[in-house]
């Protein structure tokens, strides 16, 4: 993983920019408060002033005064399937992005922003046909939970296929990726005396899941094995706070690929650690399942470790299978426990049948069970695209984070205005990119995050790379 530090001048200018934006933010808030400027955001009603305030005005300072200024670059509506190319709806605003309205025009752009690693986001082909058939057979929604009437045959088929795909005993699937983390960690780490060691850059769903249970949470530096070992040793030696009793359970939570950094977990080291200290390992493969490894089995195959060494394998069907939802896979005992105690299987409606069918079809194509080698070709195409795209950006002199094999390529821009300018300029070149800033990234590390896909052709990538190089020269983004 490469994480080249930014030049100091750039960091200082980034803070200077934030300082100027904050100064003007306070000035604009003053104008709004004194009535000179109309307030578009939600405010308390006059006759409600004796009640508890609904809106934390300071908490939306950043949103009002920084996010709003670049809001036209974010959450762009698309009106086609998010495959290699997609149609972006054009929007305009007359009041500083407080109200955006569609002009009715669309623009066909190369799609570098969607998670579509293997290119299964298609509205035609075997997956779409099978999903349409499932729609006919089962209908769209499942209006009950897995523990009641929402347990279809297709769900069981999906779970068998997932367990076979990952090479573990059993799997349970859920209709939402975020909920797979946030609703199952409490079912695994319930009660007192448990400890969670979490990577500092873990996804919000892992953080929420960890906070929903009453465990002690310790945060370790991103992908830093020494730091994990140190915290693990301290925790075991000191025991629980106040009573110094031994911990009942210790769970280490990591991700396979970190979607903001493009870095890949050092899985063998974490497995060595968990065996050495008797901890459990929770591996979130939201971005790595299907996108890493010779046959797409994820980060366990990428590192050549036995999937059974990972106690809890989690992943989503969103990024590589063109579907939605998530799974937890592992030993039969674990899965039976989750089927019985997970908040999702108890309260949430099951996954929609066409979505489940989409996953089953794409998973079988990846495994080659459809009798073709299309799955293999897609995996190879993705790996080639990722390496090629990243290496070209590095050659051009851009600051790129993460691992060569990761299909996510974060290009660092540091200054907030540059992400807005970059997004607008690339949109003019008919390229759809995703730009990310605080609080999804550290304050000074705003970035554009390119998501490669097996559906991208080399010509598309070359065109995009030339556009990025032009825009990079104009905006002075080649910091490396």
């Amino acid at each position: 993983d490469s994480f080249e530090p930014a030049p100091r001048v750039v960091v200082f200018l980034t803070y200077l920019g934030y300082g100027i934006l904050m100064l003007f933010g306070y000035f604009r808030d003053f104008l709004r408060k004194s009535g000179v400027e109309t307030t578009h955001s939600a405010i308390e009603r006059k006759n409600m002033k004796d009640f508890v305030p609904l809106y934390q005005s300071f908490e939306s300072f950043y949103k009002r005064n920084i996010y709003m200024r670049l809001r036209d670059c974010l959450n762009r509506p698309i009106c086609s399937v998010p495959s290699a190319e997609f149609d972006i709806s054009e929007r305009v605003s007359d009041d500083g992005n407080w109200h955006l309205r569609l002009t009715g025009k669309t623009r066909r752009c190369v799609n570098l922003g969607s998670y579509n690693y293997l290119g299964f986001a298609e509205n035609k082909g075997p997956c779409a046909d099978a999903a349409a058939e499932a729609l006919q057979q089962y209908g769209a929604g499942v209006c009950s939970t897995r523990q009641e009437l929402g347990n279809y045959k297709i769900h069981e088929e999906l779970e068998e296929t997932t367990a076979r795909f990952l090479g573990v005993e059993d799997a349970v699937t859920f209709g939402m990726g975020f909920a797979t983390n946030s609703m199952n960690i409490p079912a695994l780490m319930g009660g007192k005396g448990c400890l969670i060691l979490s990577d500092e850059l873990n996804h919000a769903s892992l953080v929420l899941g960890a906070r929903l249970c009453s465990t002690v949470i310790k945060v370790f530096k991103h992908n830093d094995i020494e730091d994990v070992e140190r915290k693990l040793r301290e925790a075991i030696i000191n025991g629980q706070p106040r009573r110094q009793r031994a911990w009942r359970k210790i769970l280490i939570i990591v991700e396979g690929i970190y979607s903001m950094e493009g870095s890949i977990i050092k899985l063998p080291d974490f497995i060595r650690l968990k065996k050495k200290y008797g901890a459990y390992l929770y591996l979130d493969e939201a971005h790595s399942v299907g996108a890493l490894g010779e046959t797409g089995r994820g980060v366990t195959e990428y590192w050549g470790v036995d999937p059974r060494d990972v106690d809890i394998m989690m992943g989503t069907f969103t990024k590589s299978f063109g579907a939605a939802g998530g799974y937890i896979a592992g030993s039969k005992r674990l899965i039976n426990h989750l089927r019985a105690y997970s908040h999702s299987t108890t309260y949430a409606c099951s996954m929609s049948a066409p979505v489940a069918q989409q996953v089953i079809s794409s998973m079988k194509i990846i495994m080659g069970e459809d009798g073709t080698n299309r799955g293999q070709l897609r995996i190879k195409q993705l790996a080639a695209n990722s390496k090629y795209f990243r290496q070209r950006l590095v050659e051009m002199g851009f600051m790129v984070y993460g691992n060569d094999d990761s299909p996510i390529v974060p290009l660092l821009m540091y200054m907030v205005p540059k992400i807005a300018a970059f997004s607008r300029e690339m949109y003019e070149q008919n390229v759809g990119v995703v730009v990310v800033g605080y609080p999804a990234t550290p304050l000074t590390e705003t970035r554009a995050r390119f998501c490669l896909s097996a559906a991208h052709t080399r010509e598309m990538l070359d065109k995009v790379l030339d556009d990025i190089s032009d825009v990079g020269d104009r905006l002075q983004l080649k910091y490396s």
């Binding site: 530090p5 930014a6 100091r8 960091v11 200082f12 980034t14 803070y15 200077l16 300082g19 934390q56 300071f58 908490e59 939306s60 300072f61 950043y62 949103k63 919000a204 953080v207 929420l208 906070r211 605080y438 609080p439 550290p442 304050l443 000074t444």
Partner: protein, 131 residues
């Protein structure tokens, strides 16, 4: 406040503040230094010890940080970290500089000392979380 370059930016920002005050024609050097010290300390007090919460939604901590000042949120509340030491030292160094350039004039000294105490007392570990 832990990230790279923030201390350099802090020092440059205070320097720019001082140069702007120094460029005001009807202020002499002593007044410019005392004003630098006072503006810095009042800004420091407002941002670190008066404002509570964060200027963005922190939906992952169920609003816990909403009741904490910025100073109490630094390093998740851990005391004696390098960031805290730096933020503790900055007003002291500025006070020493201001005293020197005001030639230890009593009036300036009282103003500088009182604003320095205004920002140092809330930074004491004994007052963490005290309202």
């Amino acid at each position: 406040l832990n990230s790279r370059g923030i201390w350099l930016s802090y020092v440059i920002a205070v320097t720019i503040l001082h140069l702007v005050l120094l460029s005001i024609p009807f202020l002499n050097v002593a007044q410019a230094w005392t004003l630098t010290n006072v503006v810095h300390n009042i800004g420091n007090y407002i941002f670190l010890h008066m404002l509570k919460g964060t200027p963005w939604e922190t939906n992952w901590d169920q609003g816990k940080s909403r009741l904490l000042t910025h100073w109490e949120q630094i390093d998740f509340g851990e005391q004696f970290t390098t960031t805290r030491k730096f933020l503790f030292l900055a007003p002291v160094i500025l006070f020493i500089l201001a005293s020197f350039y005001t030639k230890y004039d009593p009036l300036h000294f009282i103003i500088n000392l009182s604003t320095m105490l205004l920002v140092l007392i809330p930074k004491l570990p004994q007052l963490h979380g005290v309202r």
